[in-house]
């Protein structure tokens, strides 16, 4: 089969199993868009801003485990995509971003819509390529998918000059089923000696703790993690990125850890004597002050990325490998020889944890005349049976969602954890809905975040994506306001969203349904009504208590045991 470069791009995507491409056309990618027009296998979703394209592809990837694909033009198309690429990079999400480039003869001449996309994206991609010769196109595409989806996943950008996709030049095309790269061979299987050492250490634990992150979800190892945890009978906490990898309602689950994690999770971390970190990277929002982090613990760390091991916290037993493969090996060993745990010590440990649980650290005022954001999330969880796909933006609403929506399955909780990108939630929700057409999808957001990518409401209309937007509207950048209250003596500098659109009318202007809710008694009814509208996007504008803060909290730089609880006066 002889194809042009543009046709090769599209045919390759089809052969690679890509069903959806999120993109926005422009001069440098016109050849590719023409090839897209002349086929029906790869569906293109036209977004309203390139940032939206990448977030949507990202949401799609997080919800399916398949790589997301975005297509943007040169210059501003590529620069608009950068925030999305960096978001995916920080959370290790497999993405392929195809960016157009000016003709190769013009590269470096400051041509119209020229930007050094490879240079600009370099610090926030796993790898990138510039394909100047159409003959290199197929092998580069194959390498890009291979690199993006294996090892520690991540975004890969392919910059394609316009002449590479020239429709007049046709070359033979064969889809390569395999590829190997001498410079890239991720370790999958864990070292068996290390696995044994880890199991010995685990068996000797008197106060063990499992701390697991997004790597478990990326590795599709939730079932193995759940079995591993339950065979051991040890307490488990998840990071923000790991929520859903272990059932959120299970008795062994002590909640999320970190800056806004539960008291019991953070205290158990601080007091444990053996810590097993699985697919987690000791982020500063988790560790607090590293000097005081898990002061009494021997640490086992399982991760596919050797550079994640001993990066911020020294570990005692590192295991480099794919989480699923390593946990499978560990389970086999565990079941083979029953190691003797100190059951009395474990019993005492659980007693201690249950005592911490009585602090009821997530309490809030349930009798408030104002809508509490926590209450909305609780009701959302009830109405959707804890089984919706939930995306979020960044800020207080993100933390409330993490604390109050109990995720029972992996790939249900989709948020920008590492980069903390406001504007992520709505386009990501569109990607999720595209991947799971019939499933309930909620985007938990705030009046500030939602306005950063609000234009994607039009995309939702064009493709009939019935996302439910849960707008927790407190008229403030809530997390900024909270820090200004605590650390800047209530000087609320530029965090007040004094002017806002009428979100109901705005939703209607885009052809959606808008709802305004300002009484706690109306919350549940509104949610039920919205989710009953299965074929409509509903924008629910909840007017919430502007003074509500996220508790408990570890202030930046403090130890895990130095949590602030909600002050009693807020509970009246």
């Amino acid at each position: 089969m002889e194809l042009s470069g543009a046709e090769i791009v599209v045919q390759f995507l089809k052969d690679e199993g890509v069903e959806h491409v999120f993109g926005y056309p422009g001069g440098a990618v016109l050849h590719i868009y023409d090839a897209i027009f002349r086929q029906e296998d790869v569906k293109h979703i036209l977004v309203r801003h390139e940032q939206g394209a990448v977030h949507a592809a990202d949401g799609y990837a997080r919800a399916t485990g398949k790589p997301g694909v975005a297509l943007v033009t040169s210059g501003p198309g590529a620069t608009n995509a950068i925030t999305g690429i960096a978001t995916a990079y920080m959370d290790s999400i497999p993405l392929i971003v195809l960016s157009g480039q000016v003709q190769s003869a013009f590269i470096g001449s400051d041509a119209f819509q020229e930007v050094d996309a490879v240079g600009i994206s370099r610090p926030c991609v796993k790898h990138n390529f510039l394909v100047k010769d159409v003959h290199d196109l197929v092998s580069t595409l194959k390498k890009a998918f291979y690199v993006a989806t294996t090892g520690r996943p991540g975004p890969v950008l392919i910059d394609i000059p316009k002449d590479t996709t020239d429709i007049a030049i046709k070359i033979p095309y064969v889809f390569p089923h395999h590829i190997s790269m001498r410079s890239y061979n991720p370790t999958v299987k864990g070292h068996s000696g290390q696995v044994k050492r880890a199991l010995d250490l685990l068996a000797s634990a008197r106060r063990p703790m499992l701390y697991t992150g997004g790597g478990v979800i990326l590795s599709n190892a939730s079932a193995e993690l759940t079995e591993f945890t339950q065979v051991l009978g040890y307490p488990i906490t998840n990071t923000l990125m790991g929520l859903g990898s272990y059932p959120g309602r299970d008795k062994q689950f002590v909640g999320m850890l970190g800056m806004h994690g539960t008291y019991e999770a953070n205290m158990a971390m601080h007091e444990c004597d053996v810590l097993v970190a699985i697919g987690a990277r000791f982020d500063d929002r988790v560790t607090g002050d590293v000097e005081q982090f898990c002061p009494n613990a021997k640490i086992i760390h399982i991760d596919i990325d050797p550079a994640s091991i001993s990066k911020t916290v020294r570990v005692d037993v590192p295991i480099v490998g794919d989480i699923k493969a390593v946990l499978t090996d560990m389970l086999k060993e565990l079941k083979g020889v029953k190691k003797q745990n100190d059951s009395k010590a474990l019993e005492n440990w659980w007693k201690q944890i249950d005592k911490w649980r009585t602090a009821d650290c997530l309490r809030y005022d349930r009798n408030s005349a104002l809508i509490k954001p926590q209450f909305v999330i609780e009701k959302l969880c009830e109405v959707t049976n804890g089984d919706a796909f939930v995306t979020s933006d960044v800020g207080q609403h993100q933390m409330f969602a993490a604390q109050f929506y109990h995720f029972n399955k992996p790939r249900r909780w989709i948020n920008s954890g590492g980069l903390g990108t406001m504007g992520f939630g709505l386009p990501a929700a569109l990607g999720v809905q595209m991947a799971h057409p019939g499933a309930p999808v909620a985007c938990i957001t705030g009046e500030s975040s939602i306005q950063m990518c609000i234009q994607e409401l039009a995309t939702a209309k064009q493709y009939d994506l019935p996302v439910k937007v849960i707008n927790l509207n407190n008229s403030y950048m809530g997390m900024v306001r909270q820090w200004q209250e605590f650390f800047y003596d209530k000087r609320y500098s530029q965090s007040h969203m004094a002017v806002q659109p009428d979100f109901v009318k705005l939703a209607e202007a885009y052809g959606h349904v808008g709802m305004h809710i300002d009484k706690p008694a109306d919350v549940e009814g509104a949610l039920k009504e919205a989710f009953a509208m299965k074929d409509r996007l509903v924008f629910l504008d909840f007017v919430t208590d502007e003074k509500e803060n996220v508790y408990p909290m570890i202030a930046a730089g403090k130890g895990q045991h130095e949590m602030h609880m909600a002050p009693e006066w807020e509970l009246i």
Binding site: G119, R122, L130, R182, S183, A307, K311
Partner: protein, 164 residues
């Protein structure tokens, strides 16, 4: 601690910028960096000299290993190794006395005068960094016009080697 890290990488456009970018993005020190193609034209060999604690250098090698274009790397300072750097040094050599002194000093350091002009000598000298520093110190009495150093390169001793 000073470490010499040798890298074999794909001879691709942009590979050098990935390494340099990694060091600036993560705040690592580069004391010197040299790179050139090897006998295998698809591979380049880079020698990096960096200074950092054991933890930092461990991170540096891990992060370098993560770069897709890097095929293999070794911290050659972990074992016995040879280190060489080339320096070219141009000095004023106007008078017979000056010329004699420069030539004498160059011989002592086993350097070579490789260019002779009316008023200047250019000297080539190789060695480790300390030797080159010492030579510059010894030449202080002469008028040094210009120096250029290649940065360190190195190789492990014996059977230990970095190849694909």
């Amino acid at each position: 601690m000073r470490h010499i890290i040798s890298l074999l990488m794909e001879n691709e456009a942009g590979a050098l910028s990935r390494v340099a970018g990694l060091f600036s993005a993560r705040g690592y020190n580069i004391e010197s960096l040299t790179v050139a193609p090897t006998e295998d034209s698809t591979l380049s060999r880079m020698t990096l000299v960096t200074i950092g604690s054991d933890e930092i250098v461990e991170q540096i090698t891990k992060q370098l290993n993560k770069l897709i274009d890097i095929v293999k790397l070794a911290d050659i300072t972990e074992g016995e190794h040879l280190e060489r750097e080339l320096m070219l040094l141009k000095v004023l050599a106007n008078t017979a006395e000056q010329r004699e002194e420069v030539k004498r000093m160059t011989d002592i350091f086993r350097g070579r005068v490789i260019d002779v002009m009316d008023a200047t000598f250019t000297i080539e000298i190789t060695g480790n960094g300390h030797k080159l520093d010492a030579f510059i110190e010894a030449m202080r009495q002469s008028d040094i016009i210009e120096t250029v150093r290649s940065g360190a390169t190195g190789i492990s001793r014996g059977s230990k080697c970095l190849h694909v």
